[in-house]
């Protein structure tokens, strides 16, 4: 049984621990939790956090367009900047702090060697337009990663330049549009099929390219309904966009039948690779009949999410789509590497360019370091541990929470909210109560096919003891919810976080998207007043 982490051990001397009832402090701070103004409320003219030499006087060559007036940037010294951003950092939850079970997002450990090698001067400090003779190592690095990605997926080609998963979707779907164009079928094939459980990026991408998105229903096992898919396929279908393992955390067991049917109908199979981390090193998507798949390097290969990016979304391509891959790509020559870009004589008909320069090199370095550290054996083990951990969480919670589908699951487990029925506690309340227990909530209300969805992805990075503690916390929350008298308590959560529930309706109704001197601070503590 999991032990509570309460360290008071029954000793006397404990004071009330209810944060809301605790006395106010003069500063508004609570020990390590420091209330922090905006930089615009801290600046003073005459302060600067850098020392730059006096510029020599030269005659302007600015075509008479010298900027007048104040820009309005605040002046802060270096120690102020360090303190400000350190304090802000302490208001964030992070993988480095513990279990971050955000389903579909893959919050796994971010090794620091990856940061170190990406910053080596000979890698991090290179200009993308240096003569190729001076960046042979950089091109070799990209080509090495490309080789790993192709081999791990069993696919013959890869486009490295997409900047994130959604950008990779754009790449893959443009390649499909180009392939249809080359066959003279683009005007006729205007439909893209996607399950209702798809990531929002899938329909958004297809629609941006002028396709009509047609939803495919799921069967009662949470997989694509093969009969419905076959009925929907026809000469007007361009492609299917399918996530596998899917967003319910399940492997599409009829995937080979799906890809065969799609190909027989003359359409292409776009695989959303957001969940490749469940199978990397164990299953090759090329063996499943996919035509293209983006790989979120920031998920499967652990480049840091950084508070919302940057990511990278290379796209592996089948032989049918490879000729349409966008500029640029790396070409191995006799004794080195070069870049195929506009003006290079190439085979095939690239569909264009998605981005300036060569792609997210900084992410390539980190992902390659991660991949080399694991190797073929470690990647397989990591996928297995991720799947094992998710199934363990499901097994340990299935008597008190309600898994949406029978097992086994892959790297994430999906629960619906039926275990909260008649408790007055919603999925949102339940998730917010997890915050007070020291956890980041799971993904909520996604996928849309399950009522009150809770998608938990523990990843392979958590020790069993930590999973047990997490499971214990969730069991305790379910018990409290099921008393039927705890709804108010749940609705008041979180109480111990740097902020309590925020008024999102107010934010959307009267958007304040920037600081202005006239913004009235809703609460002016002494620190803020001193700063103004």
């Amino acid at each position: 049984m999991v032990q509570s982490l309460d360290r008071s051990q029954g000793r006397a001397g404990a004071v009330a621990t209810d944060g809301a009832a605790a006395p106010k402090t003069f500063t508004g701070n609570r020990a390590l939790q420091i209330e922090e103004p905006l930089i615009f409320e801290m600046g003073q003219a005459g302060r600067c956090g850098v020392d730059l030499p006096e510029p020599p006087k030269v005659k302007d060559r600015l075509n008479g367009l010298r900027r007048g007036g104040e820009i309005g940037l605040p002046g802060l010294s270096e120690p102020q900047v360090v303190q400000h951003y350190t304090r802000l950092s302490q208001k964030n939850y992070a993988i480095d702090m513990g279990v971050y079970p955000l389903g579909s997002c893959t919050m796994k450990h971010n090794p620091r060697i990856n940061e170190k090698v990406a910053r080596l001067a000979g890698i991090g400090d290179l200009h993308p337009l240096q003569p190729v003779s001076t960046v042979q190592g950089a091109l070799e690095l990209i080509d090495t990663l490309a080789h790993w990605l192709k081999t791990l997926t069993g696919m013959p080609a890869v486009a490295m330049s997409p900047a994130a998963g959604a950008h990779g979707e754009m790449c893959g779907m443009m390649a499909i549009a180009a392939a249809l164009d080359a066959k003279g079928e683009r005007a006729q094939r205007k439909i893209v099929l996607a399950p209702e459980s798809a990531h929002g990026t899938n329909p958004a991408t297809a629609a941006a390219l002028g396709f009509t998105v047609k939803p495919i229903p799921a069967n009662d096992r949470g997989r694509v309904d093969l009969a419905a898919l076959k009925a929907a396929l026809g000469p007007d279908v361009a492609a299917i966009m399918l996530t596998n393992p899917n967003t319910c955390g399940l492997f599409e067991s009829e995937i080979v039948e799906i890809s065969t049917a799609v190909h027989e109908a003359g359409a292409y199979f776009y695989c959303d690779g957001a969940n490749f981390n469940a199978i990397a090193g164990r299953v090759r998507p090329g063996d499943l009949g996919v035509d293209c798949m983006h790989i979120n390097l920031h998920k499967t290969f652990s480049t840091p999410h950084g508070g919302g990016g940057p990511g990278a979304g290379p796209v592996v391509l089948s032989a049918a789509l490879a000729p349409f891959a966008p500029y640029p790509w790396i070409v191995k020559t006799g004794d080195g590497w070069t870049v195929a870009e506009e003006g290079t004589r190439v085979a095939g008909t690239p569909f264009g360019r998605l981005k300036a320069f060569h792609g997210q090199m900084g992410m390539f370095s980190r992902a390659l370091a991660y991949i080399m550290s694991h190797g073929a054996d470690g990647l397989k083990q990591a996928s297995e541990d991720a799947v094992l951990s998710a199934n363990y969480v499901m097994a340990a919670l299935k008597d008190v929470m309600t898994p949406a589908f029978d097992g086994p699951c892959m790297h994430e487990v999906l629960f619906d909210d039926s275990f909260l029925k008649d408790t007055g506690v919603s999925t949102l309340d339940f998730a917010k109560a997890m915050i007070d227990e020291g956890y980041h909530p799971m993904t909520m209300y996604f996928p849309l096919v399950v009522h009150g969805a809770m998608l938990i992805e523990p990843t392979e990075s958590q020790a069993k003891e930590d999973l047990d503690q997490f499971i214990g916390a969730l069991r305790s929350l379910t018990e409290r919810a099921k008393t039927g008298t705890a709804a108010e308590e749940f609705k008041a959560a979180p109480r111990f976080s740097p902020r309590r529930r925020l008024d999102e309706t107010l934010a959307a109704r009267k958007p304040i998207l920037r600081w202005r001197p006239s913004n009235n601070p809703p609460e002016g503590g002494p620190m803020r007043q001193a700063a103004e």
């Binding site: 940037l73 955000l102 991090g124 200009h127 003779s133 998963g165 297809a206 941006a208 300036a356 999102e504």
Partner: protein, 448 residues
């Protein structure tokens, strides 16, 4: 394996709790035809940190870093000094290893710096609202065109010949596959292009760059008036954001959307990425913007806090009706930008811009004195175009062989126009030194 905490005993116990015989049981939904007998063949096994680091040092050793050579390359990516504080702060795990701030109660750190970022972007560009970043300048520009198409319900974009050719390529790719018309101007080498006459009632937007790809500083006020008279939007692109410390911002010229490549502030060259796109517009177009927005609000105790807002524009809510498919953006690069700009402040940012202009002016005077070399520009910020007496590409190669990274031959980015073959772009930032300029001038004299 150092990243995997589960022991074999843990795994056995977990399988027991699950009720599975082996981990293979958990993969039973994988079709038999796709089950590999073991690990993926043909790839090496795991390595220690020392071995990995050695491999990367091997890659690094095959490159010539700008730190090791006289360096004058720009063309959309600029080498500036980034204070050590920036890289230290962005590596704090609470920033580095946090996700998109979907749970605002425990991500106020990210949300507040993005709110600061958005404010800084509006101040630099002279615009009213800004989003929480795009992937980079090139993709941001393409998104700006799509946004203008939505706002105006028109489908013809006029693209200046002064726009970075790879940015132009990204727009043309979007035009071809997303279905609009991109009318592209001829390479505007002399900075004299006038697009006013081309703006008509079908035009959704005009896309210009300032300073232009060739370095010219232009006033687009008249063009903005012409756009507005015709019901079109003016999109101004800035690939060197430091220029905004010295040059009239696009907002004051009447721009409707401003897109900048923010790499110069806080972010290294990084061989082309990741960078950070800045995206700003007028308040009236706010709800047509792509990407994430952070807004101010209050929490249950009435304390000021920040949240992601207006997300009904976005793909995770709106799906096929979203303003863009963008999801992950450039959060950590935006943080680097914000910290660096906060260190600079008003005084530092302006001085940095002055230094850049002074260094480039010095470089222009020096290379103009090389026989056969002409500086094309009357105006520039920290980058300008020179005309050589022979094709620039082999000249750059010859200088690279002497370990001088001289600049970008225009033909590398505009390969299909013989009239630009002899043109070379040269940039000088605050990092340029006398020790670098002298060898460049000497090298040019030798190889020309």
């Amino acid at each position: 394996m150092r990243y995997l905490p589960l022991t074999d005993a843990d795994r056995r116990e977990m399988l027991r709790v699950i009720g599975a015989k082996s981990v293979d049981d958990l993969f039973r939904d994988v079709p038999a035809s796709a089950r590999l007998p073991g690990k993926v063949a043909g790839l090496p096994d795991h390595q220690g940190e020392l071995e990995v680091e050695r491999a990367f040092q091997g890659f690094a050793a095959k490159n010539v870093s700008p730190a090791m050579a006289p360096f004058f390359i720009g063309a959309g990516a600029y080498r500036h000094h980034v204070p050590a504080t920036v890289d230290y702060m962005i590596q704090r795990g609470e920033f580095l290893t946090s996700y998109t701030p979907y749970q605002p109660e425990i991500t106020q750190g990210t949300l507040q710096y993005l709110f600061e970022f958005q404010t800084q972007v509006t101040l630099l560009t002279g615009m009213e609202v800004a989003n929480a970043s795009m992937y980079d300048g090139s993709t941001g520009t393409s998104e700006a065109v799509l946004m203008a198409n939505r706002v105006t319900r028109r489908h013809k974009a006029l693209i200046s010949g002064g726009l970075h050719p790879q940015y132009r390529g990204v727009i043309e790719t979007a035009a071809r596959w997303e279905g609009f018309n991109a009318v592209v101007g001829k390479a505007d080498v002399d900075g004299l292009e006038d697009l006013i006459a081309a703006v008509d009632k079908e035009t959704s937007c005009v896309v210009v760059q300032n300073p232009s790809f060739f370095g010219h500083v232009r006033d687009f006020s008249k063009l903005a008036e012409a756009c507005h008279a015709a019901g079109a939007l003016l999109i101004v692109v800035v690939t060197e954001v430091v220029s905004l410390g010295l040059i009239t911002p696009p907002g004051e010229m009447g721009a409707d959307i401003v897109v900048c490549e923010g790499q110069s502030i806080g972010n290294g060259l990084g061989f082309g990425g990741p960078y950070v796109g800045l995206f700003a517009t007028r308040e009236k177009y706010m709800r047509q913007m792509p990407g994430r927005l952070v807004g101010e609000t209050v929490d249950a105790d009435g304390k000021r806090g920040f949240v992601l807002t207006l997300s009904t524009r976005e793909q995770h809510i709106r799906r096929e009706k979203a303003t863009s498919n963008i999801c992950t953006n450039a959060g950590l690069c935006a943080l680097a930008f914000t910290i660096h700009l906060t260190l600079l402040g008003e005084a530092g940012f302006r001085r940095l811009a002055e230094l850049n202009h002074a260094k480039a002016s010095e470089l222009a005077d020096r290379v103009a004195a090389v026989p056969g070399v002409t500086v094309v520009n009357d105006s520039f910020f920290n980058e300008f175009t020179v005309r050589l007496p022979r094709p620039a590409a082999p000249v750059v190669e010859a200088l690279a062989a002497r370990r001088i990274l001289a600049g970008v031959p225009v033909s590398r980015l505009i390969p299909d126009d013989p009239s630009v073959a002899n043109l070379l772009l040269l940039a000088a930032t605050e990092t340029a030194t006398e020790h670098g300029m002298a060898p460049l001038v000497a090298g040019l004299k030798e190889v020309l």
